[in-house]
Amino acid sequence: MSDFHYQKEADGIAVISWDVAGARINTMTRESLRELASHFDSAFSDGKVRGVVLTSAKKDFSGGMALDTFHQIRGQEPTEEADALFAHIMEFHQIIRRIEWAGRELKSGRSGKPVIAALPGTAVGIGYEIPLACHRIIAAKNPKARIGLPEIKVGLFPAAGGTARLIRRLGIEGAAPLMLKGTLLSPEKALAANLIDAVAEPDELIEKAKEWALGAEPEDIVKPWDRKGYRMPGGTPYSSKGYLSFMGACAMVSGNTSGVYPAVNAMMSAIYEGAQVPFDTALKVEARWFSKLLMEASSLNMLQTLFLDTKALEKGARRPATIKKSELKKIGVVGAGMMGSGIALVSAQAGLEVVLIDQDLNAASRGKGKIEKLLAAQVKRRRVAESETRHILERIKPSQEYETLSGADFVIEAVYENPALKGEVLARIDRSVDCMIASNTSTLPISDLAKSCQTPSTFLGVHFFSPVDRMRLVEIIRGKETDDAAVALAIDFVSRIQKTPIVVNDARFFYANRCVIPYLNEGIRMVGEGVRPPLIENVARQCGMPVGPLQLVDETSIELAVSIAKATKSALGADYGHNDADEVIFKLASLGRLGRKSKAGFFEYSETGHRLRLWHGLGVYFPEATPQPNAEKVRNRLLMIQALEAVRALEEGVLTDVREGNVGAILGWGFAPWSGGPFGWLDGLIANQSVLSLCDDLSRQFGERFVAPKLLVDKATRREKFSVH
């Protein structure tokens, strides 16, 4: 099978067009790269070919490596894994290097042929690393195109010569931040940042590329790093300037990642070591670090969860297959508060007509006002073009009349978290429409709310996270009687608004909040035990949580924590048991420290609500214990309490798919992304046979909540992973 078209044209230019059959976007495999090499070899050995244009027959150039191949690469020859991996990566380097030399020979003095990459659209990962080896990169002025090296976002780093070439093209100071953040740029910005050499109108792309190839001078077709006396821009790590900036880079990266992302550390080393040696040696160094990364047990967890599993869920992996895909046109949102307006906004941005209802037109219009502000902020962050905002806003119609819902394909209720109010609103919606209805709730059981609807089978929960326009996850909650058609429609809706759905069954706090609450409580308990509060907050962030538990309680409000504790206590009755965390939050609440909104909580705040420092009074009410636990113990408590809750959710059938458990945890509440999610983390502990003893230690010392659930015991005993990959 051929992934490329090879065309020798009358002007002496060979055009190689990438066009993987049946694929929306070109991705690279070892076989494809070998084929590409053979086309280049033909061009270089053909006396009539004067130059080569590498382009794509699709609207984009390439989405990078076919990422599902990494598991295969890793699994091929386990006994000689390091050798096999290194050889595999070096083959990539050798092929790309051959393109870069373009037939040039030093001994015979034969000159090479000009090779130009002509990018019609997006070119990322190896889809940009191959152009980096060409003698020139020209891109179409395609505002949708994105160019760059995003590998770090899925736990890898650019290893098809990406680190070696980009630092030599831009200097370490220019290149490292792009690769560390995985920044993607539009063609115009890529040109300004010197990632590419030229832009052209889309219909002139190939013509301009050929023009350059036909006029290229001999010095144009030798890469700077292959010229005598080449010096890296900005200097190497031991130049006077490079030394200070590399010292700063190590510190910044350590501070931002706490060293928990193996790909980041591997890339930093590949850059540091690679910058000090000649180019071909740098490729060897890069291949060595990439092999090491792929061999680390945890390195592919992030790739699996954040890329492969997330994509699968977004493509409807959990969608009931027999139901026909629905094309939504119009939706209704009832409740124009923060959540309702957010849902209305993201829906309108996806091209849906939206009716936004509240109790009176004023309230509904205020909701639209919030949307305008959100959009203005997005324009400022350049996520939306100013010219688009008018169309988006035109699609949102504020109203107080439920009749305007008529003709809607889906209605989402998003009023305050009050069961009586929600019941009343749902009943009114139910009387006004005959489409599927959903409630956006984070705490109320869906099967109870369903009683307000005539046909509970067409009702379900959709749990959006705040802020709606920024958070990618939507939890779809299937009530006892919810049917497949409702779930399918909800998934279609979530896909339409470009968010990631997970489908869970109805149980208290569903999945995400169920796992977050124990995390908060564990942090609060430690305060009660006299653990130094900074230790709790720092260790939480250092193990990869986006926000420490005490800060998170302050953000969501201590008042809410108190009311959840009281509600849970009344719901569970005698089963509730003693909870050390309650004492702490009741104490703070009694002192009027209700969290950020009262400008006093676990933290102190300025008059303007800016968080200043942990409140020193904590040490007065909860005196510091001696000795203090070490960081590892705190870390294990904070991660394990979440992971065990995820296992219980799986065991009880709230969660039915491990992929959703991992993706939901990272996208929903930011569970340590490096781990690939709670099940990814546990899989690591199962693999090194430490999980059960860890649970034993923790439960002996801190209580039954750390007792390993049966499902975990079974898995650990059989040394079987949760994840299926």
Binding site: G248, C250, N265, Q628
Partner: protein
């Protein structure tokens, strides 16, 4: 085991470590050779009868590179038959040089050494020789590397030394240094530096500012707050290792940290068999030595473990020591030392230290030893302990006894 005896100790006055400093026009090799020649003249040494010159230096690049010690021998009046060895244990290099010599003397042979060190900070910029531990991600990111100033502030935070504590200590260092000069307490060890035409260049330490008071120091801006809290954010890196702290208090500034200066020092050390034929009178004997590695992020706590080990090896208690020289790299270091050992302030750094007089990195260890030897004689005391904190998390200590 034969005793390692200190026969003589000399040092240059410390010049300000900038182009305005008095020593800045002389080379590192030159001022080193002048100290060696001073030992030769003062002790009527034959030029060939030295086993080795061991020279400490913390920035071995340019004129301080390429086996500086051998260059020093070749410029000095020593015979070409004397070799040279340059060593780098950062700030303790000058003391480590003496300890290495002492260790070899302990081994037995009739032998004498010249050991010491030099640092011309005005000419060879601190850190300009590069260091993998600061930039190689495999080390820097693994050990949580931060610059020394951040480490010093971390010590102050961890042990609760306030800005006022540090400033008060700094004022006292200035007052003690001024008193030492007024009372001529360095008269035996100080050797004026001359130019090639024998014109005197510098005869007195020039970094000290006796007028310093708390009000003057209170005006100074913390030196490490920006790099800690702003870019690139070293505080966050330090908290990776010290997560029980909420934030680092940035208390150190140029007024309570060691001064950047130029200087050199040399010690003549040997055994009885070496000294007797030359009619040298020993001033002190090395009782014990120690070097340790310590936690590298907080970096500067090494003197604690090094002191404990040196005392143990000398079979002494802390209370047996009459005099301490604890390098004033930052005010927090002697404060930490006194806090940990409960020693009386009146015994520690009695003639000032690196805050008032300056810290020529590779030379300071030998300077502190020279000061201790002279003060033991002057004050008629018996034992002294010299210790320095070291970059990368190390510490060196030496215990001596007046003979």
């Amino acid at each position: 085991m034969s005793d390692a005896l200190i026969f003589d100790a000399v040092r240059t006055p410390r010049g300000r470590g900038s182009q305005r400093g008095s020593l800045a026009s002389l080379t590192s090799v030159d001022i080193s050779a002048q100290m060696i020649d001073a030992l030769i003249h003062r002790n009527h040494l034959p030029g060939h009868d030295i086993e080795d010159v061991i020279w400490g230096n913390a920035t071995q690049i340019g004129e301080q590179g390429g086996c500086l010690a051998r260059a020093v021998v070749l410029m000095s009046e020593l015979d070409d038959a004397v070799p040279g060895l340059t060593i780098n244990r950062f700030c303790a290099s000058g003391l480590e040089a003496v300890n290495l010599a002492a260790g070899q003397i302990h081994a037995g042979e009739k032998t004498g050494y010249i050991a010491g060190g030099v640092e011309m900070m005005s000419r060879v910029t601190m850190g300009s020789d590069g260091a993998a531990m600061a930039v190689d991600p495999r080390i820097a990111m693994k050990m949580a590397f931060v610059p020394q100033g951040i480490s010093a502030d971390l010590i102050a935070t961890e042990y609760g030394f306030s800005r006022e504590d540090c400033d008060r200590y700094a004022c006292q260092s200035q007052q003690r240094a001024a008193r030492a000069w007024t009372e001529d307490r360095f008269k035996h060890s100080i050797v004026a530096v001359h130019d090639i035409n024998h014109r005197e260049v510098l005869a007195q330490d020039e970094h000290l500012r006796p007028e310093t008071d708390m009000a003057v120091l209170a005006e100074l801006k913390p030196s490490f707050a920006d790099m800690g809290e702003g870019m690139p954010g070293f505080d966050k890196v330090a908290l990776l290792k010290y997560p029980h702290l909420e934030a680092i208090e940035h208390v150190h500034h140029p007024g309570n940290s060691s001064g950047i200066v130029d200087g050199a020092a040399a010690i003549l050390i040997g055994n009885e068999e070496f000294g007797a034929p030359l009619e040298l009178r020993p001033k002190a004997r090395v009782l014990s030595m120690a070097k340790v590695g310590s936690e590298p992020t907080i970096m500067l706590t090494g003197p604690i473990a090094a002191t404990r080990l040196a005392l143990k090896r000398a079979n002494l208690e802390i209370s047996d020591i009459d005099l301490f020289e604890v390098n004033e790299a930052f005010a927090a270091i002697p404060l930490l030392f006194m806090h940990e050992f409960g020693v009386d302030d009146e015994k520690v750094n009695v003639n000032g230290g690196a805050i008032s007089l300056g810290h020529p990195l590779g030379a300071t260890g030998a300077i502190l030893l020279s000061s201790a030897v002279e003060e033991l004689e002057r004050a008629d005391l018996s034992t002294a302990l010299v210790t320095l904190c070291v970059g990368g998390g190390m510490g060196v200590a030496t215990v001596i006894e007046r003979v």
